[in-house]
Structures are given as structure tokens and as C-alpha cells.
Symmetry: C2
Subunit: 278 residues, 2 copies
Amino acid sequence: MQRIGFLGPEGTFSQRAALIYITDKPSELVGMSSIRETLLAVQHGELDLAVIPYENSLEGSVNVVLDILAWEVDLHIINELTLPISQTLMINPGARWQDITEVFTHPQSAGQCRLFLEKQLPQAKLYLTNSNSEGANQAKKNGITAGAIGAEQAAEIFGLEVALRDIQDNRNNFTRFVVVGKNPAHNTSDQNKTSIVFSTEHKPGSLACILDIFSLWDINMSKIESRPSRGKLGRYIFFIDIEGHMTDPDVRDALTMVKRKTTFYKFLGSYPRVDSDK
Amino acid sequence: MQRIGFLGPEGTFSQRAALIYITDKPSELVGMSSIRETLLAVQHGELDLAVIPYENSLEGSVNVVLDILAWEVDLHIINELTLPISQTLMINPGARWQDITEVFTHPQSAGQCRLFLEKQLPQAKLYLTNSNSEGANQAKKNGITAGAIGAEQAAEIFGLEVALRDIQDNRNNFTRFVVVGKNPAHNTSDQNKTSIVFSTEHKPGSLACILDIFSLWDINMSKIESRPSRGKLGRYIFFIDIEGHMTDPDVRDALTMVKRKTTFYKFLGSYPRVDSDK
């Protein structure tokens, strides 16, 4: 039975993504205490796979995931899944949400609900936690002046009540999760996506040159994200997703050229693509 | 006397940047409680200028700043300054840093010290705060089991001792701050930088087309950063910095073309460039 890790504890959005992923696959789900711990456990063989949040349509990429995949581990993305995310305000039984003065939540959820917090709860102090479930736990402990933001299922687990649903700044809120493991996935789909990370020479036109390679081979790009290269300001590494599988001749040829024109290049995986128009 | 806002309270890196900026300019510094509040106060005329953290060489752009400049205010960047950032571990007098079990800090500083926290303080629980100064204040209140990470000057303000300096994951750590106001800056330097934000059509090659415009006019790009466009996954807006001033004929012509080829375009300012090779 495969062991699959997620950012725990019970009641996180990551747990929900992991539960959806393992439908029909006999698996043991393991709640981990941080994203780094989860990814390193896969690298060291203590877990077979991990389900990890990768990017959100409001708050953007999860920086720590990008940095660890680029620099600290050697893992492959073998699948992706996209979940609609409804951020829920949870309070203690008997409380009124308008009266709370403390809100506990993870920074990603806080980032997705910035306008709500500013406009509807200007008096409330924000306490950032390591997971939304920990936030719910803290809200429970702090009583009727406290609330938590996160996935609705945390309310039941921690004995809170749902006060408001869909409090994120835009109803259209999705998080894309990726499944990572030590071995690449086989090509089993005719709709695939390939993820790479690279850096280019620090001179004019070097990023344009890479993007032109994809244009030349008519390859669609569905994600581009820059991260600092951890040295000097103004030097970046780029995370790009393209349509197609590493074993498609055009993708293979384009990536051969990309590799030639970059100073750092890492293949992160080819995997079945989920409806890309979320 | 001009009123200049920064993310307070006393002892933050933003305060240090603001103090450096106002050398020789008679000014009143005003500590604000959030970055949004600071930028909105400039927009509404309650402050003349604000000094705001924009990007860090380890942790990347400050998402909330990019989102507010793109969507919520109509302000101009009129200056930039880059500071070396030394993250400091501060503890209560009489404590041993190896024994602390709680660390209080802002998410940006936590992101810059991820490896240190994981390797040197694996037993310590991380509590995220709204500013580093608030973290130092919390560490003081929580006694010898608690520590804070932030700017060294917070130690004196909050009665803590410096246990370790330069604990960020890479000694080479810089934060770039920008000064924003309601009116554009005059062209007073021969070394300038121009910042824009835009989005392109969702079709292959549309970002490559924009970057090719800068190549065509031989304009150097010193920053590119993508942010989700707050609607669908896979749609982005791009923040780009180029060398040169809006009033330079080449920059003017290139940006005229960029404007024509983008679906959303906003000019964020032309301002004197600081040594770009930090």
C-alpha cells in the first residue's frame, strides 16, 4: 500500500486534495507538519508520494514548493489536480462573527482574503499559523472573541461553526495541487503538461530567446513564474509549464534547444493535464 | 514638511530604509500598521510619500505591494533604494538561543531564514507576526523560551539581546525598497529605471512578443515577475522593470508598442536607478 503525504493536520485543503487523489487507490495518508518535511520524506523514501499545493489563482505560487523543487530535492511531478477553494470564516458556538477580535489562519489563506479582512473585520487582529487547521485549533482555544479562516471541514473537526462561506477576494478561486514522487510518470494520456525550471544568461533578450523557442515549435505555455535565484537582486529562475509530454518529438526537440540556451535547467516532470481553463 | 509613511512600528527594516531615504530632507516619518494602509494613505493625500519593500533577493517580490499597485491605487514610483538585510536572532537576557522553543517573526523574514530554522532550531515553533517589531515585542512578553527574528535595532527597542547575526539562508541578502507618491518624478538622472505592469492575450507567443519589443529597441530588462490575474489559473499579469526613462525616445517608442500589444497596461513610474548589480 502506498504512503502518501500531505500538509496536515486533519482538515486542511491539502488533505482534501489528497483524499480526492487516492480515490480507488489503496493508500495510507500521512499528515506532515511542513511542506519541506513532506517533500524530503519522499526524497528519502519514507513516503511514496506527496500531494502538494503548487499555485493559487488569487495568491500565486507557493514559494517554498518552487524553491525546494528547484534546489533541494530531485523529484518528479506525476500528476496535478485543481480544486475550487472556498475560504470559510469559522467561529465558536454562541459567538457573533462581527464581534470577533482575533483571526487565526495560514498566510496563503490570509492572502486570499485580504479585502474581506480589511473591510469586514477591520478591528480584528490577524494571527498567522502554520496550517489552517492549527488556526481552527487556536480559535477554539481562544473562545468567542476568536475566529479562523480555512476549509469548512475544519469546523467539525475542531468544534467550530461556519459563520460565512466564500470570503476570499474573488469567488473564482482555485488551487492547483501536484503529486510528486521519485520516479517519472509513464505517458498514459493524450493531454499532457510538462514542467521545467531554468535560468538564463544575464543579458538582454535571453528570456525572450527561450520563449521564442516555444513559439517556434508552436508549444503553448500555461504557466510562467519567476523566483529570485537566491543570489543577486535582478537574477531570476523561471518555472514554466508547457503543453505536451517529454516523449512527444516536438516537446523533446524544443526542450533540447532550451537546455542548450540556458545556464541552469531542470526537468520537473511530464504528467496528465487537467482541464487547463479553470 | 513632507509626511512619509513606512510599515511600523519602530525597529522594522522599512523604518531603516525610510530613515536612509530622508537624509537631508526635512520630513516627518509616520509608522503605519499595514502596507495597504500605507499605500492608501498616500492615495488619499494623508501622506506625501511612502517607503515600501518591493522585492528581496531570497524571498522574491512582496505580493501585497504588487497587487495593490496594479489594482487598488494610482501611484508612481519616484525612487528606489536597496539595503543589505541581516536577519538577527534576538532573545531575552539570560536565555540561551539553543534552548528557545518559540520564534516570532514576519513571514518575509521567516522565508529568508527557512534553512536556519529547520536545521538550527528544529524544536522551535514558528509564530508569524504582522511585523518583525511585533515579533520582538511578543518574544519579550514570552520570556526566556522565546526568540524573535528581524532587524538588529529591534533588540534595543524591545529589551532583547542579539544572539546571532546573518542567519538568513544566504549572506547575500538584499531588499529593494521603492518610494511612491501621487505625482511622477522629474527626470533628474542619466541612470533611470522604468516600471510597468501589463497582461497579454491568452495565446501562444504573446509574452514572447512583448519581450521581443524590448530586444528590438536594445532595452535591458532588470526585473520580470508574474502574478496571477486574480481570475483564472494560468492567466498572469507581468511586472517588468526596464532601464531608461519614460522621456527617452527609445523607451517612449517601445512602451507605445507594448501598450498596443497588451490587453492591460499600467505605467508605474520612471525614477533614478540605483546600482543594479546588487
